[in-house]
């Protein structure tokens, strides 16, 4: 059973600042950064769990999350979107910005 979706399109989210020893599909450059959910894509087994050969990988919603270049790199006027499993996201508050 997939986890129910926690976020809707337009939600401000913060990527957890994880640093696991195993393979992770959370690119390092978005960890600890703030973005906005563009859309919920559906649910898939968590790649980080599969990479560790866990017998029952969690199944979670994956979101397209949009980041401003300035948030990620401190400079630039473009946008970067990244696909992120739900457990790597938490709601962002104003103080995170």
């Amino acid at each position: 059973m997939a986890e129910p979706p926690r976020f809707a399109a337009g939600a401000a989210v913060l990527v957890r600042n994880v640093d696991p020893v195993h393979h992770s599909r959370v690119p390092r450059y978005i960890r600890g950064h703030r973005g906005v959910v563009v859309e919920a894509q559906g649910a898939w087994p968590v790649a980080d769990d599969r990479a560790q050969n866990l017998p029952r990988p969690r199944v979670e919603p994956v979101y397209t999350v949009r980041f401003a270049a300035r948030e990620l790199w401190g400079t630039g006027g473009h946008w970067v979107t990244v696909d992120v499993w739900q457990s790597n996201l938490e709601p962002a508050t104003e103080a995170d910005g």
Partner: protein, 196 residues
């Protein structure tokens, strides 16, 4: 970030596994080749070009394609079910105000079933690390000089979706038939490193 895939431990493991299976008589080299050939036979940027030309010619199809690409591409007899599991396809449209470009910063995810094997530069550390940071400069090096007013979005395929770009229909092509539009679309246009 892993770079050269041919030297990756996974590649060596796959080779050893193949050798064991063949030695055990469970599968032959020929059968493995046939499976790969079957997957790649239909995999060509021509599929992407056909989808783009159809979207240029048919506004209704374009809308359906942008809303739900997996369903829409079955209208032109294509699908994302060529691999082990169906992948989600997302097509992102360029407009006069907005340009899109795709990348996989973690490895080399790419809609191979629709676009064929990716170009070698797509898998290079230089492209993967730089395009998310300074896309305008990278596109400029590809010969695509975008006006400052055009906003750029970089799509990093880090999960189970695969992306490609729907370029803008070139000016002066109103008289062309859909079949004549197909050869105008390049692989670089579908990745977003060229205008078309």
């Amino acid at each position: 970030m892993s770079g050269d895939h041919s030297n990756a431990p996974a590649a060596a493991r796959v080779r050893r596994l193949e050798e064991r299976l063949i030695a055990a008589g469970l599968v032959s080299d020929t059968e493995l080749d046939e499976i790969l050939a079957r997957y790649l036979a239909g995999a060509s940027p021509l599929n992407g070009a056909r989808i783009v030309a159809h979207a240029w010619a048919d506004a209704g199809f374009r809308d359906r394609l942008l809303a739900d690409a997996n369903t829409a591409i079955t209208e032109v007899n294509l699908s994302m079910r060529g691999g082990l599991q169906e992948q989600r396809l997302k097509i992102v449209a360029n407009t006069p105000e907005r340009h899109n470009v795709i990348v996989c910063t973690l490895c080399s995810c790419y809609p191979i079933g629709l676009l064929g094997p990716s170009p070698s530069w797509y898998k290079s550390e230089a492209y993967r690390s730089r395009v998310v940071r300074e896309p305008r400069a990278v596109l400029d090096e590809f010969g695509l000089r975008l006006p400052e007013a055009v906003e750029i979005t970089v799509w990093d395929s880090s999960a189970e979706s695969r992306y490609f770009v729907l370029p803008q229909r070139p000016a002066g092509t109103d008289e062309l038939t859909e079949a004549d539009l197909v050869p105008l679309v390049t692989r670089e246009g579908l990745i977003g490193t060229a205008a078309v």
